[in-house]
């Protein structure tokens, strides 16, 4: 029997794959990116949401000046459209993933967990689609109020 390193069969790990298998493929999968997303979106939302509250509810007359004309004026700018859409997407993803984490904590694995999780994913996707359609297709001339 040879004792050189080349001739020696590589001892497999318990899962049957040799040591170092899958190199080149990142180690972290969905849970890593979900975890990282929560941290980054949290920081960005802090800035976006606090800014939103100050602009819409605190500065000048505050909430009293918010009407259709105000929104029309605001959404004429791509900057504010992007701000609001980003806030919508980040807050929805952040919220749905947060609910998923709470479900993992409180609901036992199985059908109930999958059902509740699926409900929140569908609800989140529907709200995001609705919000995106409004932000992207908003045209004040098509609204009777203007």
């Amino acid at each position: 029997m040879s004792t050189t390193a080349e001739a020696r069969p590589e001892a497999p790990l318990p899962h049957g794959k040799p040591v170092g298998a899958g190199r080149g493929r990142p180690v972290g999968r969905f849970e890593l990116w979900a975890w990282l997303f929560m941290r980054i979106s949290g920081l960005v939302l802090l800035f976006l949401a606090v800014g939103h509250v100050l602009i819409m509810h605190v500065f000048e007359e505050g909430v009293d000046r918010v009407d259709f004309a105000f929104i029309q004026l605001r959404w004429a700018s791509l900057f504010w459209k992007t701000w609001d859409w980003l806030m919508l997407v980040l807050a929805l993803l952040h919220g749905v993933n947060g609910l998923r984490m709470i479900l993992l904590d409180y609901v036992r694995p199985g059908g109930a967990r999958r059902a509740i999780n699926g409900f929140f994913v569908i609800l989140g996707a529907a709200l995001m689609a609705l919000g995106t359609i409004i932000v992207v297709t908003f045209d004040p001339s098509k609204w009777p109020m203007s």
């Binding site: 790990l13 040591v19 849970e31 890593l32």
Partner: protein, 255 residues
């Protein structure tokens, strides 16, 4: 030249510490009992005993078992804080009964089994889910490279994982974790500590396998950094710090 003292003479040189020199104190132990052959429901028992205040709590439990109620059941082996058998909830906190002095809990102490694992009898829990998590992280050195001599390591490389070599697998950390209480499939702080010990070992060749296992849904990203584990560890391991280092290693894909 002064005569040198024997260790026993040094130990007995303080009046306070001399065996039998301290007056006994009264200690009431309130213990959560469970015996499925007696009752489906757990119950509380109280025992009041006289005990040396410098004895450890495990000796008070011995006194109860040997002189008051022989049916009281608990695990202990070395009774000196190394084997990790006698982790229990003492006055609401996870600790080893052999590392708590009677004087620090007298006149009354509440003792319960560690949480999150099924109680089999009194203070004995089923440790298998805990060891399942431990086994899952490959807690042994993986290195099949041929070598003519020992695998050398610099003091700095050894220092990298020094803290996590101290684990005695008592389960005090894992059973103090609220994530583990709610979901026993969570791999738990102790398994992550033991993965850390090999992930950051320069001689090991399977850190990516362990990082892959720990980045699953049951792995490190369930940790919510409540620090219960760090508080509970009787060996003083910075458990939460080790978990955060493993998270970072997964993020940057290298130990």
């Amino acid at each position: 030249m002064a005569a040198s003292l024997t260790p026993a003479e040094i130990l007995n040189s303080s009046d306070e510490r001399r065996v039998g020199a301290t007056p006994l104190v009264t200690l009431t132990l309130r213990i959560r009992r469970f015996n499925p052959q007696v009752s489906e429901e757990p119950w509380w028992d109280e025992f009041t005993i006289q005990v040396d205040p410098y004895e450890r709590l495990v000796e008070a439990l011995h006194q109860v078992k040997w002189h008051h109620d022989g049916t009281l059941t608990f695990r202990r082996s070395c009774a000196h804080g190394i084997c990790g058998s006698d982790a229990m909830v003492i006055n609401g906190r996870n600790a080893l009964a052999c590392k708590i002095l009677v004087k620090d809990v007298a006149p009354k102490v509440t003792i319960e089994p560690i949480r999150g694992l099924a109680v089999l009898k009194d203070l004995i829990v089923d440790m298998e889910p805990f060891f399942d998590g431990y086994r899952a992280v490959l807690p042994y050195l993986v290195n099949d490279e041929e070598t003519e001599r020992e695998r050398v390591q610099t003091p700095q490389e050894r220092e990298r994982y020094d803290d996590t070599t101290k684990c005695i697998l008592c389960a005090a950390c894992t059973t103090s974790c609220p994530i583990f209480w709610s979901d026993e499939t969570y791999i738990g702080p102790a398994a992550i500590v033991n993965a850390h010990r090999f992930i950051f070992d320069s001689r090991d060749r399977a850190p990516r396998e362990r990082l892959g296992i720990l980045s699953e849904k049951t792995g490190v990203f369930r940790c919510r950094t409540t620090f219960n584990c760090t508080d509970a560890c009787p060996r003083g391991i910075e458990v939460t710090k080790a978990i955060q280092e493993v998270k970072r290693a997964v993020l940057f894909d290298r130990p």
